[in-house]
C-alpha cells in the first residue's frame, strides 16, 4: 500500500477518534461559574415609582424540608449585597419600628440540594464476541447469566447546587384565596449554581448584582 494511502487513513482516523471520544455533546466540562443562573420576574401591575421604603430581616431563611436544612454559612454576603443594590435602585431601608411602615418587605432564603445521577455502563455490548472464549475470566459468570450477557457496572455522579431566592412583597396588598391570605409578590429573583467550595462570595455578589441589573423595572425612579 502506498504511503499516501496511510496518510489518508491517518487523516480520517484521527478526527474520527476525537469525534468518538467527545461524543454528541462536546465541551460539556463547565467551570462552577459557568453553572450559575440568575432568574428574575416582576409583577407588571405594580407601579414601582410609588414605592420608597423597605424592610429586610437580618436572616436568610433556610428553605427545604426536614433533615435537609442546613444553616446558611455566609448570610451577610447575601443580605449586604441585596441591601446595597436596593439602595442603588432607590429604596431606603427601615430597620426600626419608629421609622414608620415600609412600603415593601424583602425576604431572602437559601437552599442547598444534591442531585445524584445513576447510570449503567455496559462493559461490552451483549452478545458480541467474548462469549466464544470460555475460560476468559468472564466465563465464570456463566452460572448466573445467559451466555453473551454480562452485568453492567453502575456509575454515579452527583453535584450540589446552592440556590438563593428573594422576594419583594407588600403585606398590605394581598389576596385571600381559599381562606389563605397571600401577599402579592412584586418581584422575585434567584441565583443558582453548582457549589465547589471556592469563590462562593464572589459568585453570590455577581449573581445578586446581575439580578438587579436585569430588573430595571423595579427602580423607584423609572
Amino acid at each position: 500500500m502506498s504511503k499516501l494511502f496511510y496518510n489518508v487513513i491517518a487523516l480520517l482516523v484521527i478526527p474520527l477518534g476525537i469525534t468518538m471520544l467527545q461524543g454528541c455533546y462536546p465541551n460539556d466540562g463547565l467551570t462552577a461559574e459557568q453553572t450559575d443562573l440568575v432568574v428574575s420576574t416582576y409583577n407588571d401591575s405594580v407601579d414601582f415609582n410609588t414605592l420608597s421604603t423597605y424592610f429586610m430581616a437580618d436572616t436568610v431563611y433556610v428553605l427545604g424540608d426536614g433533615d435537609n436544612k442546613e444553616a446558611v454559612k455566609n448570610p451577610e454576603v447575601i443580605l449586604d449585597n441585596i441591601a446595597s443594590n436596593m439602595a442603588a435602585a432607590g429604596y431606603s431601608r427601615i430597620t426600626e419600628e419608629g421609622q414608620g411602615k415600609p412600603d415593601v418587605v424583602v425576604l431572602a432564603g437559601a437552599v442547598k440540594s444534591t442531585t445524584v445521577n445513576v447510570g449503567w455502563w455496559y462493559p461490552w455490548y451483549p452478545g458480541w464476541g467474548w462469549g466464544g472464549y470460555p475460560g476468559w475470566g468472564w466465563g465464570g459468570w456463566g452460572g448466573y447469566y445467559p451466555p453473551g450477557y454480562y452485568p453492567p457496572y453502575p456509575t454515579y455522579s452527583s453535584y450540589t447546587t446552592g440556590t438563593i431566592v428573594w422576594d419583594m412583597t407588600n403585606p398590605d396588598d394581598y389576596d385571600v384565596i381559599d381562606g389563605d391570605t397571600l401577599a402579592r409578590v412584586y418581584w422575585t429573583a434567584g441565583v443558582q449554581g453548582v457549589l465547589n467550595g471556592g469563590n462562593t462570595s464572589t459568585r453570590i455578589k455577581r449573581g445578586i448584582d446581575q439580578a438587579f441589573a436585569q430588573s430595571p423595572q423595579i427602580n423607584t425612579n423609572n
Binding site: 494511502f5 480520517l12 454528541c24 420576574t41 430588573s215
Partner: protein
C-alpha cells in the same frame, strides 16, 4: 415511530437487495464530514462542525448508475458565552449558554458516475430521513428538540483512485436538507466530505 421503523427497514432491504444484484460491483465510502449550517441551523449554530462521519455503500445497477444507502452523523456546537434572555411576560434569565445540533441522516441514494477511468466524477441524490436533536443550554439546564425529519441530500463528488489499487480518495460536497416537522424547524447544512473509497 412506526413510520421510522418502516423507513429504516426499507433502507436496509434496498441496500441488501441492490448489493446482491449489483454484478457490476460497487463502492464503499468512509468519509469524514465537515458541516456548515445553513438556514435555521445556521441561525442556531453558526460555527462549522468538524465532528462528523458517514458510511456510504453503492452498487452499480448499470455501467454508470449506482443505488445504495448512507448513514452519517454530524455534531454542531457553539457557545454564546453568558447571555440574558427573556421568558414569559416579565421573566429574565442570565447564564452561560451552549448550543448543540446533532444530525443523523439515513438515506437511500442513487448516483451517476460520469467516467470510471483515472478519475471518477459523480453526481447523485439521497432521499430518506434525518434525526435531528438540538439542545439549548443555560448553565446545566437545557431545552431539547428532537425529531425524525423527511430529508433530501443532493451531492457532487469525485473519486481519485490510488495507483492501480481499488482504493481511492473520495471527496464530495453535499447539501443536507431536513424538512420541518409539526414541532421542530427545518434543518440544513452543506457538508464537505473527504475519505476513502473502496471500489469493488
Amino acid at each position: 415511530m412506526k413510520k421510522n421503523k418502516f423507513l429504516l427497514s426499507a433502507v436496509l432491504v434496498v441496500l441488501f437487495g441492490f448489493s446482491s444484484f449489483s454484478q457490476g460491483g460497487g463502492v464503499w465510502n468512509f468519509d469524514w464530514n465537515i458541516g456548515f449550517g445553513t438556514g435555521e441551523t445556521a441561525d442556531f449554530v453558526s460555527a462549522p462542525s468538524f465532528r462528523g462521519f458517514s458510511i456510504d455503500g453503492r452498487g452499480f445497477v448499470t455501467d454508470n448508475i449506482t443505488v445504495g444507502g448512507i448513514a452519517g452523523w454530524n455534531t454542531f456546537y457553539e457557545s454564546d458565552g453568558v447571555v440574558t434572555r427573556k421568558f414569559g411576560e416579565t421573566g429574565t434569565v442570565n447564564g452561560y449558554n451552549r448550543k448543540y445540533v446533532n444530525t443523523l441522516p439515513i438515506m437511500i441514494n442513487s448516483h451517476y458516475y460520469f467516467a470510471q477511468t483515472t478519475i471518477m466524477p459523480y453526481a447523485g441524490i439521497g432521499v430518506g430521513t434525518m434525526y435531528v436533536e438540538t439542545r439549548d443550554f443555560m448553565g446545566i439546564y437545557y431545552i431539547q428538540d428532537k425529531a425524525w425529519h423527511f430529508a433530501l441530500a443532493p451531492e457532487l463528488g469525485i473519486v481519485l483512485p490510488l495507483g492501480n489499487s481499488n482504493t481511492g480518495i473520495n471527496a464530495n460536497v453535499k447539501y443536507n436538507w431536513a424538512a420541518k416537522t409539526r414541532d421542530t424547524p427545518s434543518a440544513s447544512y452543506v457538508s464537505l466530505n473527504i475519505g476513502i473509497s473502496y471500489v469493488f
